[in-house]
């Protein structure tokens, strides 16, 4: 997790965006020190509601740059994610996808599958970038906790995108519910041996499948009008002078 935070911090630095203007709603319990070091506004909110909360922040004050960092993104927050992407709310979502080792019925399951289901690991995980892309996200990327440089670049790049961007980070992150055994090293080694960078790959093909290499990289980078843009355009068109555009482009 630490590597992600420092990469995130580096990304902000690179992007040149004022840290004060960055808000980070998250269901990951960051410690006060980390938040202070990042210099952003942090909200720890109920599980899964980071995107919806971020939507409110952004609409209330369009000059904010909202970065939901989510651990529970696809479980409780799945709906907010797909709809946020459809609306193209201006958010940068960092989804920390932690691999969890968990035993079921005495059977150890190296769950290269999914953090979304630490128990029923016989389920297939989401192909996250593909889902994001199909719902309308304008920027999708995936990195592991090892790819700190790339991750920082990605963050810097995505912070300047107008629309919903999503970066999936595979990491031995803080699982919200369970204690994990110390697996960091083992996993990092696993990443090192099992990941391959393929930029601009069709997100359709980047599902994480056991025994195959994990594909990382930047997959989507396109432009679409954001929610606030189309809100302004449509209402100006119909209402004319009676309507004062909201916020303006990215504040």
């Amino acid at each position: 997790m630490n590597s992600i935070i420092s990469a995130f911090s580096k990304g902000i630095e690179k992007s040149g965006i004022d840290r004060k203007k960055i808000s980070m709603p998250s269901d990951v319990p960051f410690t006060p020190d980390v938040v202070k070091a990042l210099g952003v506004d942090y909200f720890q909110i109920p599980r899964g509601r980071a995107i919806a909360f971020g939507t409110g922040l952004k609409l209330g004050n369009p000059s904010l740059r909202v970065v939901p960092v989510a651990g529970d993104l696809m479980t409780l927050g799945g709906n907010h994610f797909v709809h946020g992407a459809r609306r193209n709310m201006e958010l940068l979502i960092i989804c920390v996808n932690s691999f969890v080792y968990k035993k079921i019925a005495g059977k150890p399951i190296p769950s290269t599958q999914s953090a979304f289901s630490p128990y029923s690991t016989f389920e297939e995980p989401f192909n996250f970038p593909h889902l994001g892309n199909s719902c309308g996200a304008i920027y999708t990327a995936r990195w592991t906790a090892l790819h700190t440089e790339e991750l920082a670049d990605s963050v810097a790049e995505a912070l300047h995108k107008h629309g919903l961007s999503v970066i999936e980070v595979l990491a031995p992150g803080p699982n919200y519910y369970t204690d994990i055994d110390s697996i960091e090293l083992e996993l990092l080694k696993f990443y090192h041996e099992n990941s391959t960078i393929k930029n601009n790959e069709d997100p359709k093909n980047v599902a994480i499948v056991p025994d195959e290499k994990i594909i990382v990289g930047k997959f989507t980078d396109k432009e679409r009008p954001t929610f606030i843009d189309s809100y302004n355009v449509q209402h100006s068109k119909i209402l004319g002078d009676k309507f004062t555009p909201h916020g303006g482009k990215n504040g």
Partner: protein
């Protein structure tokens, strides 16, 4: 009916409250668990999953708590006894489907291992802040049954009782435990299967074309059938008549919803279980439930030793509230002392049911440890000294 031996792990074990709860569920015949992981209820689902294959039970981990209870209700209609386990935040998300369970009169058990709230509170720390929520948390009118165990053995026993009550009254039953009892490890004796009494589901047995899913029998409970038995029934969350068809007018609302309340209110004597200790000659009675009962009983003994006549009334069923018994006792004693790990919930009911006959002292318990009796003893002291009946709850204050 006796329990199915397949699910009963007869013997004497050392189990945590959570594990005992899972064993209780198996013994009661629970064969479906809907889950979404949340501290501090994890161990129940872990135990359940671990033993599910040998018992022949099914489970599913859903995407959120909302869908968990929906799935549990669906599973219950297939004829499998079903339950879910959760904690405060999860229970809040289940509120909508609690209402659906009430309206469809679907038997199921919701185990709530309470933690400190509101919001995220303190995951893993015990509290009793969801008691009122269990009673009032869903919209609309309903009555519910809630049990509160105070030890791992009781987690086992009352999980079975919860299933039995839910089958008997066709109602979701909440087992309101807390993180303290859930993580407490004690001896749990699981009796042989033939000694465990199980309430079978009340099935409809008449002609297929005459089945009415919400026609109340003499015992006030409509008879159930399973999906796939060929009855082709219809049920809806809308206000409905006996056939389960929506009819949206005042009369039908009365016809449909009033019995949902009566179903419990008319049977309170059968449902309610309280445990009394030394109440005959008591001057002060401690009314407690769940983990606080442990401190209450201790405090009672200590107070007796120092010469104060203290009794204890333990609410095993917190909902429906034992109004009658509390009112009777109120006439005999000088004061009630109510310790709760919250800022005043069930104490309001105690105040209501004492009808001005006695003082009600409230102790916000648990700050110095769940089994610590200091606050309770001082409150008892204060209670004995009080010479007139005050209007309103007297909140015991440590003088902070």
């Amino acid at each position: 009916m006796k329990a199915d031996p397949k699910g009963v792990l007869t013997g004497s074990h050392t189990l945590t409250g959570n594990h005992a709860c899972a064993e209780g569920a198996f013994a009661a015949g629970c064969r479906f668990l809907g889950l979404y992981p949340i501290v501090p209820s994890l161990e129940i689902s872990e135990r359940f999953l671990e033993r599910a294959p040998e018992v022949g039970a099914t489970f599913i981990q859903m995407e959120d708590e909302v869908s968990v209870l929906a799935a549990v209700l669906g599973a219950s209609w297939t004829g499998k006894k079903s339950m879910t386990v959760t904690s405060g935040p999860g229970l809040s998300l289940m509120m909508e489907h609690l209402g659906l369970g009430i309206m469809l009169e679907t038997p199921c058990v919701i185990v709530d291992i309470q933690r400190v709230g509101p919001a995220l509170g303190m995951p893993g720390r015990p509290a009793q802040g969801d008691m009122m929520q269990a009673r009032w948390g869903s919209h609309g009118d309903y009555e519910i049954i809630a049990l509160s165990p105070s030890s791992p053995q009781e987690m086992f026993d009352y999980t079975i009782k919860a299933f039995n009550l839910s089958e008997r009254y066709r109602i979701p039953v909440a087992l309101m435990s807390d993180a303290y009892v859930a993580h407490l490890q004690e001896k749990v004796v699981i009796p042989p299967a033939e000694e465990i009494e199980i309430e079978p589901r009340r099935y409809y047995k008449g002609a297929k074309d005459k089945y009415l899913p919400f026609k109340r029998d003499k015992d006030f409970v409509p008879r159930m059938v399973n999906i796939g038995d060929g009855y082709k029934f219809h049920v809806t969350g809308l206000t409905h008549d006996d056939r389960g068809y929506p009819v949206m007018n005042e009369e039908c609302q009365e016809y449909n919803v009033h019995p949902l309340v009566w179903k419990v209110r008319n049977y309170v004597d059968e449902i309610i279980e309280v445990q009394e200790a030394e109440t005959e000659d008591a001057e002060v009675i401690i009314i407690s439930y769940g983990a606080t009962s442990r401190a209450a009983l201790k405090a009672m003994e200590q107070a007796r030793k120092s010469g104060v006549k203290v009794g204890s009334l333990r609410l095993v069923t917190v909902w429906p509230f034992p109004e009658k018994r509390v009112a009777e006792l109120a006439k005999k004693v000088k004061a009630f002392v109510v310790p709760e790990m919250n800022f005043g919930q069930v104490v309001l009911e105690v105040e209501r049911c004492s009808y001005g006959d006695t003082n009600t002292f409230f102790v916000s318990h648990g700050e110095n440890g769940v089994e610590n009796t200091d606050d309770l003893l001082s409150a008892i002291k204060q209670a004995v000294q009080a010479d007139k009946v005050e209007s309103g709850i007297i909140e015991f204050n440590k003088g902070v």
